[in-house]
């Protein structure tokens, strides 16, 4: 009986130690990659560990990762050694001093440098001249077309210059069979963010959020025109599903959807750029998965070396990641002949294509996108007046910025106050 108790106690102790996570011999690697993406990353990590590195990597998929990051950063316990964050998080993370620069990682593995990655993905991790992340991929807007429907309506030539324009789509007004549509409204805010770039606009002015702008209005009005012409899938309907069921010419969703579309029987589809005003100015709003190290003084040099080795392995071998439908950031991978088998290689096929990938790096971009996600569907489908909507969106972002950044200002003030107090004591 006593023996059994001892065994159980030992087991519990081992279990607790395993949960501790501060193991010197493994790199705790957090990612928000749920679903299939997580499985592909698992495979990459497994392949790396099979090379018998000194320090193995342990991949931990964490849904709600950012919330958990805040928790561990607050407590100082269980901070992961390495993690994957999205490009739009970098500016605010750096501002809050939550990220460590990757300088030493780059020194440990000299191939981890700007020349070996897609420029837009690399620079998304750069703030004020310091590099904070190493990119894994770019992922973002993509427009899928239904080849059979293009033939049916005799508009295959739209794809000749790789850019479908507003005017081209409007030319089909009144010529569609009932139940057919030219485009859907999937990921609408991303489409609009691309149009803003096409018009030379931006979402900020001197660091202040600028949502209620001419470029935004013009973008929304242009897409609304498509809707009013009866070309867009109706309000509230699942346009993504309608594309898959073969009723929609173009679906404006994400690079990763290619795997989902491929599973649909008899769906003859391909990928191209998000539609634009002119064939020579086009953008695809993108984001990126970036390797980053949360601030943690306890990260040893050996671990940093281990992280560098792992990232170098990923740089050389992330063709696996192309399976997930993402645009791999490593030049070695995208230049390899195998990569051409993947649909998303379209986006890196020429320099012009690569330049079309656009990542917003404005500090308050997440608030802007949140506002757009809340409003643009209503505006484009005419459920809400555009002027009112733009004003409310602008207000939404401004209020959030004011509330979110007050904290920082106050903390700074507090520091100064404390300093004064200390001085006066002396």
């Amino acid at each position: 009986m006593k023996k059994l108790l001892m065994v159980m106690l030992t087991l519990v102790a081992v279990f607790l130690a395993a949960c501790g996570g501060n193991d010197e011999n493994t790199i705790q690697f957090w990612t928000p990659l749920t679903g299939d993406d997580g499985a592909y990353m698992d495979q990459l990590v497994e392949d790396y560990n099979a090379t018998e590195p000194e320090i193995e990597v342990k991949h931990i998929i964490t849904s709600d990762m950012y919330t958990k990051m805040y928790t561990v950063l607050n407590s100082g316990n269980g901070i992961p050694d390495l993690s994957i964050i999205h490009a739009d998080r970098v500016p605010s993370f750096v501002k809050q001093d939550l990220l460590e620069p990757v300088t030493e990682i780059m020194e440990a593995q000299p191939e981890l440098n700007a020349d070996n990655y897609i420029e837009e993905a690399w620079s998304a991790g750069e703030v004020d001249g310091t590099q904070y992340t190493i990119p894994l991929d770019i992922h973002g807007s993509a427009m899928y077309y239904n080849q059979d429907l293009l033939e049916k309506y005799d508009v295959e030539h739209w794809l000749d210059d790789n850019v479908v324009t507003f005017d081209e789509m409007l030319s089909l007004q009144g010529q569609l069979e009932e139940g057919d549509y030219v485009l859907n409204d999937a990921l609408l805010s991303w489409v609009l963010l691309a149009q803003i770039q096409n018009l030379g606009g931006d979402i900020q002015e001197n660091g202040e959020p600028a949502v209620n702008t001419d470029a935004m209005r013009e973008s929304i009005e242009a897409v609304k025109e498509l809707n009013d012409a009866g070309l867009m899938t109706p309000y509230g309907e699942d346009g993504y599903l309608m594309f898959q069921s073969g009723n929609v010419l173009f679906s404006t969703d994400g690079t990763w959807s290619s795997t989902g579309h491929a599973q649909v029987e008899d769906l003859n589809f391909g990928v191209t750029n998000i539609y634009a005003f002119e064939p020579d100015t086009f953008h695809n709003r993108s984001s990126a998965h970036l390797f980053a190290m949360l601030s943690n003084e306890e990260r040893s040099e050996e671990k940093e070396q281990g992280i560098a080795d792992f990232l170098e392995f990923v740089r050389e071998n992330s063709i696996e990641w192309a399976e997930a439908g993402q645009i791999v950031a490593s030049q070695d991978v995208i230049e390899s002949p195998e990569y051409e088998n993947y649909m998303q290689s379209f986006f890196t096929s020429t320099q012009e294509q690569e330049d079309s990938l656009y990542i917003y790096t404005y500090e308050h971009y997440p608030y802007v996108q949140e506002a757009m996600d809340n409003y643009v569907a209503d505006l484009v489908h005419g459920e809400m007046d555009i002027n009112t909507g733009l004003e409310e969106m602008q207000k939404f972002v401004e209020d959030k910025v004011a509330e979110g950044s007050l904290d920082m200002e106050n903390t700074e003030l507090l520091d100064e106050d404390e300093l004064e107090e200390e001085l006066s004591e002396e």
Binding site: D64, T67, Y70, S245, E370, D378, F396, K400, L406, M408
Partner: protein, 293 residues
């Protein structure tokens, strides 16, 4: 033996008290504290006094003010629509199952109870396909052309249907247990006095199950105020934020993509808690009054 007796109660109550303190009491107190601060979940909270409350309750220019009142209004609509249905329908089913000629009662009971065991997200996915305009059973069967989740009042109807579908089983079980506990003598004497089925329901059944009735009312109301998953999954708060309930705003403020605005979110949560507290207190007061008479 005496020594044992002294500490024995602690061992029974202890685990619950520890769990209560760690997972309920401390977070609640910290949440209330956070509502008086500006906090982004990372830095240290900055005391701002009643500023957050002033913003959401009095500053009609603020986005957070309109979010709070829109969220509260939608939450109250949901409570007002769902709670009566979640009481009346299970009660009617429970009474119906008591009828002598109803067979397979435990089968029916199981069938009605099972939806409550299905995860609400999985259920919402199934129901959104049922209501889907092209593929859905509803539109094909009734020949309607409605986009259910994008027009009112249909958006609310879908949310209420899934809530009732998933929620009636639990209350029904409680009512059945209550009705089973009513002495058969009462029904017999009522029959001798010439009471019909309706009379028996109002004058025998209802007064006898008063306590379970009020208990379910309190619990169902509390649950309804915390509604989140159904509107998030079915309508995503639309159309035009008319089904965005307060919990959705609170979550977006605290845990969305941008920097967290946990202070305002906590203030909203405290206000929601206060409303819930007042309503529950009234319900408990009624319950106690009825229990003693």
């Amino acid at each position: 033996m005496k020594e044992h007796g002294k500490f024995a109660p602690l061992f029974f109550v202890g685990p619950h008290i520890i769990l209560f303190i760690v997972f309920i009491l401390i977070p609640s107190i910290y949440g209330i504290y956070a509502s008086f601060t500006n906090w982004n979940l990372v830095g240290s909270p900055e005391w701002v006094g009643l500023d957050n409350y002033k913003t959401i309750l009095a500053n009609s220019d603020s986005t957070f003010y309109s979010q709070f009142f829109n969220g509260m209004k939608n939450t109250l609509i949901f409570v007002g629509l769902s709670v009566p249905l979640m009481i009346v329908i299970p009660l009617m089913i429970a009474v119906a199952l008591e009828h002598k000629e109803v067979k397979f009662t435990s089968l029916f009971q199981t069938l009605i109870y099972i939806p409550g065991l299905v995860s609400i997200s999985a259920a919402a996915l199934i129901w959104s396909l049922i209501f889907n305009k092209q593929l859905g059973v509803v539109n094909n069967m009734f020949g309607s052309e409605q986009v259910w989740t994008a027009t009112q009042p249909y958006a609310w109807i879908t949310i209420i249907i899934i809530t009732v579908w998933a929620g009636i089983g639990g209350n029904m079980i409680i009512y059945r247990a209550g009705i089973n506990g009513v002495s058969k003598d009462l029904y017999e004497s009522a029959e001798i006095d010439g009471a019909g089925p309706i009379r028996k329901f109002w004058n025998v059944t209802l007064p006898s199950i008063k306590f379970p009735l009020i208990y379910t009312m309190v619990m169902t109301t509390a649950g309804a105020f915390n509604v989140f998953a159904q509107p998030l999954m079915m309508t995503d708060g639309g159309p035009r934020q008319s089904t965005t309930v307060l919990m959705m705003y609170i979550r977006d403020l605290a845990f969305s993509h941008g920097e967290s605005i946990a202070g305002v979110a906590s203030a909203m949560a405290v206000m929601l808690g206060l409303v819930l507290l007042v309503i529950s207190a009234i319900q408990y007061y009624i319950m106690n009054k009825n229990a003693t008479t």
